[in-house]
């Protein structure tokens, strides 16, 4: 494979160029990527700002959820204390788990990706900066409002896993549970948005020459992470949607008395919930791999092994969800599958651990702050991994499940696998964004307290679990031997808290945020591109990458990059831009023009959060107004993008010319749309699984579906819709108006097909509240209605653009993407119409 795109690799030889670059180029870049002033900080979209905001907010949630943990440990210090009353404790433990998982862990690693990836890949920014800004603000505003529910006693109290029927309207009548279900809503949206951003960013905006096998390991980790989010999150999106519909409208998805099944929720939840653990762990492991190499002062041993280990983890982690359900009465053989996969998934983890140890062994490891946290992390994570193997054994899990043994295990895994690496990363990368590094002297204390505190807090919990102490208890009776382990745990928890407090002191003393005003520099001597001198526009020029640690291999690189002797030493179009490269070999393909700061992503985020929060407190009018305003804001932000550009091809350095506008499968927009469609497809697939699951578990409630024959005309209509959508793309060459007309017609035909499907079901006298079958069938129709509504909106948006002359010929991305969405909508409709009539048809 000499070339992926026809680009001649020999062209790389032209760099570094010889000539001095004009001074104005650098001033132009500074002006174009200028610093926000005053309230403009709210509108910033540059990853240097959004990344920091994002990480800071995630860390704030870590601190707040940590305080909740200390409250719980205080309550459990001795038997039958009354520091937190029963009801409050139940809210506090629910919030601790929810906030740590949804508002800290996932956003924190996503934030690290947003902050670090462009620098590491030497891109000017991530490909969809406004989407990053939107994802951040929706998360920050929504998350803070959600957290505030605990101050007014309205926080959810059903546990972070929210098992129905405890969380159904009958047993949780208040709006506490709705806070969880809707509160998780915008976190799901923001996670998916971030994942799309990261996948396209990693695959398409790498510096030229950064082939897959030269990609920093952290970028690999983030790629696997983002793909996993795309596959796993749809399951929880569907789950929360269904449970909220059950609570609001009484559709019995999980109600066993009406043909639903509480176990369906557990499958949907854990199909997300277990990969979630690896979603959190992999980016942190990626950071570990980066930091270990620098700490050892040597190249990472087993780079390829680690890459494949991470990909294998990504795969196999989707085969372990039901190991949270070994005690639900699943048939023994089925538990065996999940036990086997749980064993298999520990092999890649072992590979990574021994790669880190091997790297330390060949180098001369330094015991600096990142080094200490890396070593501590290995010890803690391995301990957690070993107890993980124990509970992967089904008979042992029958005893350990839902006991404090699990609490110990999961904290070892998450603190060792994510929190310690994150602290290592704080120490390691803060010099990149701060004028001053953190204190090495204080770091030893922070590490000591955290490491010791962690072990003192969680080691005794193994014992408490084996003694028979169940999880999620607000107190325990005296005389069972639980007193001593719990008291020790509480002492340890406060030691851990003290360590974190000391870290805050260090931050307050030394952290001086200054994107674009110089930084502490490459304190630890890292070899990857994020340590190139950079400003708000990232690096002055974008280097040609010839190895995994370019800074170690080419000591002159930083200087040459700074002098503008590589790709894109100026703004070629006078706007924000970055080079889009090919996914495997990173050959330059075209120049992407990027949107700049805008109030609209911020507005869209505020209204999105407003929509969900208003729904929670049942202010329906306000919710709908907010929802409509959110959609308008999104459309308004898109309106400025995808404009026709006059400059057809530009010089991106050394007379290499690339186009500035590309359509079709090579464009970054196409990639993002395809990923979004994968997300929607997964949501729909999980809904189809729900239908099949209920039909096999609650056959007594099953009614024969309408005959398959009724679907024939529906299928025909959907086929027409697909044909029209494809025509729209083809006939744009001739006329934008015919093209838009075909799109509108396709959307209309799809809607008509959906209408026929609906009529066919409603005349079968199966209502959505009648049984689990009815509920899922109508949920499928509702999902289809959502897709159809979005399709109509997109077609109308294209029509509006055509009217204003914003649809250039012969190809246009807005038209392309709408076409893709319409084809998907029709395909989803066909699948739904067929499967819903086939499942349970024989019985």
């Amino acid at each position: 494979m000499r070339s992926e795109t026809g680009f001649d690799p020999a062209l790389y030889e032209r760099f570094p160029t010889r000539h001095e670059r004009p001074k104005e180029e650098e001033e132009d870049l500074r002006r174009i990527w200028c610093k926000p002033k005053g309230w403009e900080y709210l509108l910033a979209v540059n990853n240097n700002y959004i990344g920091i905001y994002y990480l800071g907010t995630a860390f704030l949630f870590f601190l707040m959820a940590g305080v909740l943990a200390l409250l719980m440990r205080a309550q459990l210090a001795a038997p039958m204390l009354e520091i937190l009353p029963q009801g409050t404790y139940n809210q506090v433990f629910t919030m601790h788990g929810t906030v740590m998982m949804f508002l800290f862990a996932v956003p924190a690693v996503e934030a690290a990706g947003v902050l670090l990836l462009p620098q590491m890949l030497a891109a000017r920014d991530l490909p969809f900066p406004r989407l990053s800004a939107y994802a951040f603000w929706a998360y920050a505003v929504g998350g803070l409002c959600f957290f505030a529910s605990i101050f007014v006693g309205l926080a959810p109290d059903g546990g972070w896993f929210m098992y129905p029927p405890l969380t159904s309207k009958a047993y949780s009548p208040g709006i506490n549970t709705d806070f969880w279900l809707l509160g998780i809503g915008f976190i799901e949206i923001s996670a998916i948005a971030g994942a799309i951003e990261i996948i396209v960013g990693v695959l398409r905006t790498r510096a030229p020459g950064m082939r897959l096998d030269r990609m920093p390991i952290f970028a690999w980790a983030m790629l696997v992470f983002a793909v996993m989010i795309v596959i796993a999150f749809p399951s929880i999106i569907l789950g929360t949607l269904l449970l909220e519909i059950e609570r609001a409208f009484g559709w019995p998805f999980f109600d066993a008395t009406r043909g639903g099944d509480p176990l369906l929720w557990q499958h949907l939840f854990w199909f997300f919930g277990h990969p979630e653990v690896y979603i959190i762990f992999l980016p942190a492991a990626g950071m570990m791999s980066m930091i270990v190499a620098t700490v050892a002062g040597e190249r990472l041993v087993g780079y390829r092994l680690i890459v494949l280990a991470m990909i294998a983890t990504g795969f196999i982690s989707f085969g372990v969800w039901a190991h949270h359900m070994f005690t639900t009465g699943m048939p023994p053989m089925t538990t065996g599958f999940f036990s086997a996969a749980s064993m298999a998934v520990s092999v890649p983890a072992g590979i990574q651990v021994f790669s880190w140890i091997a790297t330390l062994a060949i180098g001369k490891p330094k015991f600096n702050a990142p080094g200490l946290f890396v070593m501590g992390s290995i010890v803690i994570f391995v301990t957690g991994g070993l107890t993980g193997v124990m509970i992967a054994m089904v008979p042992f899990d029958w005893q350990a499940h839902d006991s404090y043994f699990i609490v110990a295990h999961l904290h070892y895994v998450l603190i060792g696998g994510m929190v310690f690496p994150l602290f290592a990363a704080f120490y390691y990368w803060i010099p990149m964004v701060s004028k001053r590094a953190l204190s090495e002297r204080l770091a030893k204390w922070v590490f000591g307290l955290m490491f010791l505190g962690m072990n003192v807090a969680f080691l005794p919990m193994h014992l408490a679990g084996l003694q028979g102490m169940p999880r999620r208890v607000y107190t325990y009776l005296p005389g069972q031997g639980f007193e001593l382990p719990n008291l020790i745990s509480t002492v340890g928890a406060f030691m851990l808290g003290l360590g974190v407090l000391l870290f805050l002191v260090d931050l307050a003393r030394n952290f001086r945020l200054a994107p674009g005003e110089g930084n502490a520099g490459n304190v630890y001597g890292g070899g990857t591109l994020e340590w190139l001198p950079s400003e708000l526009y990232s690096t002055r020029s974008i280097p040609v990458v010839t190895s995994r640690e370019p800074l170690w291999d080419d000591p002159a690189l930083a200087h040459e990059v700074e002098k503008g002797r590589y790709f894109l030493p100026r703004s070629a179009t006078g706007r924000r831009e970055t080079i889009v490269t090919s996914p495997l070999l990173a050959e330059p393909q075209y120049l992407q023009i990027m949107p700049g700061p805008s109030p609209w992503p911020f507005a869209a985020a505020i209204f999105t959060a407003g929509f969900f929060l208003a729904l929670t407190v049942q202010a329906y009018m306000f919710a709908w107004v907010s929802g409509v305003l959110a959609v308008i804001s999104v459309l308004r932000w898109l309106w400025e993008t995808d404009r026709p550009v006059e400059i057809e091809g530009v010089d991106i350095g050394a007379d290499i010319r690339v186009p500035t506008y590309v359509t079709g499968p090579a464009s970054h927009g196409w990639w993002a749309m395809v990923i979004l469609l994968v997300v929607m497809g997964m949501i729909f697939l999980m809904a189809l699984f729900s239908l099949a699951f209920l039909s096999s578990n609650q056959p007594g409630f099953w009614r024969p579906p309408p005959p398959l024959g009724e679907a024939i005309s529906i299928l025909g209509l959907y086929a027409v819709a697909i044909g029209l959508a494809l025509t729209a793309r083809a006939c744009l060459r001739r006329s934008p108006f015919w093209s838009v007309f075909a799109l509108l017609l396709s959307a209309a035909v799809s809607s008509a097909a959906l209408g026929m499907d609906y009529v066919s079901w409603s005349s079968s006298e199966l209502g959505p509240t009648a049984s689990g079958q009815g509920a899922v069938v109508y949920a499928l129709l509702a999902l289809q209605a959502c897709a159809a509504a979005i399709a109509i909106l997109m077609a109308l948006y294209c029509a509006a653009r055509a009217v204003r002359g914003l649809v250039p010929q012969p190809r246009n991305n807005s038209i392309d993407l709408t076409m893709l969405f319409l084809v998907y909508t029709a395909a989803q409709g066909v699948t739904g119409a067929l499967v819903s009539r086939l499942v349970g048809a024989g019985g």
Binding site: Q86, N90, D157, G158, Y163, P165, L166, Y171, S172, A256, T257, P262, V301, T327, G329, P332, T335, G336, S339, A340, A344, S346, V347, G350, V353, F354, S355, I357, A358, L360, I362, P365, M375, V382, T387, V389, M390, M393, V394, P395, F396, W398, Q399, H401, D402, S403, L463, L466, Q467, G468, P470, R472, Y474, T475, Y476, L477, Q480, G481, F482, Q698
Partner: protein
């Protein structure tokens, strides 16, 4: 009746102190896993130590892909394969998918926040109803049919076997057996809201002879009746509780026909004596907040006495 009330202090830990054939093999597995895990942790720590402080010769050995393959792939693959085979065979032999001959059958239904116990004969016909206490003979496997009336609960007696969830709409099966007479503590293991922490129960294991005597004593109430019974019937207690042999037929709360003979009150949390009975009847909310029985503030001292005396007499 010889009774052994263990473990009172949590030592040895219940999971490592098995009392029957459905917990013993798991304890062995637990010990092997704990010991093996410790050894492997020691190996990793040793390797980390060598990497950080070892001699150059050892460091070179550790610092290559070969070491990663051996320690990170080959070794775990072998160990895990062995464990998996053992685990699967044990799963197969302990699971209630196959019921041994002559097993006693009991249906246990989880309620918020107590346990309904229905004894059955060999054909699955109900023979006796009780609550919060399970009596079994030693040396005989007991097949539990576990159901839930409201939300998900989980049945767990660590010394007699693993846990099994009780899920609305399903009947899960679990086998337990005790080797020695005694009282074995149980606890709900699945978070079920409110006072989930205070949802306990006890399993009482008898010798076969004692068990037969116990069974014979489970007749409809021969209690004293009188003022206590009258109060019970007139104060609304009967709306929720059944006392066989009286007009009290309520089904929402625990069957009280033999409440006086139970070891505990409030689902495994309080000792059972006239004092605790009076306290529970008058104000159970102070003892187990949010439980479904309201506080009864209307009784005079004498009335509370009479009611307590009656309930205690229901042996």
């Amino acid at each position: 009746m010889t009774e052994r009330t263990l473990p009172s202090e949590g030592w040895p830990p219940a999971v490592l102190d098995p009392a029957g054939p459905y917990s013993e093999p798991v304890t062995l597995l637990a010990w092997v896993l704990l010991a093996g895990g410790t050894v492997i942790l020691a190996i990793v720590l040793g390797a980390l130590w060598i990497a950080l402080r070892g001699s150059p010769r050892l460091k070179t050995r550790l610092g290559g892909e070969k070491a990663i393959w051996i320690l990170g792939f080959a070794f775990p693959s072998v160990v895990l394969t062995g464990l998996l085979v053992w685990g699967l065979m044990l799963t197969s032999s302990l699971s209630a998918a196959r019921v041994p001959e002559g097993a006693m059958r009991v249906k246990v239904i989880g309620e918020i926040w107590w346990w309904r116990v229905h004894y059955q004969d060999g054909q699955g016909r109900e023979t006796l109803r009780d609550a919060n206490e399970l009596h079994i003979p030693i040396g005989q496997p007991v097949l539990l049919e576990l159901e839930a009336a409201d939300v998900i609960h989980s049945f767990w007696v660590p010394r007699l076997g693993g846990k099994m969830d009780m899920i609305p709409g399903r009947t899960n099966r679990l086998l337990i057996e005790a080797d020695a007479p005694g009282i074995y503590k149980g606890q709900c293991a699945e978070y079920c809201g409110g006072p989930h922490a205070l949802m306990g129960f006890v399993v009482v294991a008898h010798t076969p002879a004692d068990f037969a005597r116990w069974q014979a004593s489970r007749l409809p109430s021969q209690g004293a009746g009188g003022e206590g019974l009258a109060l019970f019937l007139s104060s609304g207690c009967a709306a929720c509780h059944t006392i066989r042999g009286t007009p009290a037929r309520g089904l929402a709360g625990p069957d009280l026909t033999h409440v006086g003979s139970r070891r505990t009150l409030g689902a495994g949390i309080l000792p059972n004596n006239p004092g605790t009975m009076a306290g529970w009847v008058a104000d159970s909310q102070a003892i187990k907040p949010a439980n479904r029985m309201p506080a009864y503030h209307q009784f005079s001292g004498e009335e509370l006495q009479a009611l307590t005396a009656y309930l205690v007499s229901l042996k």
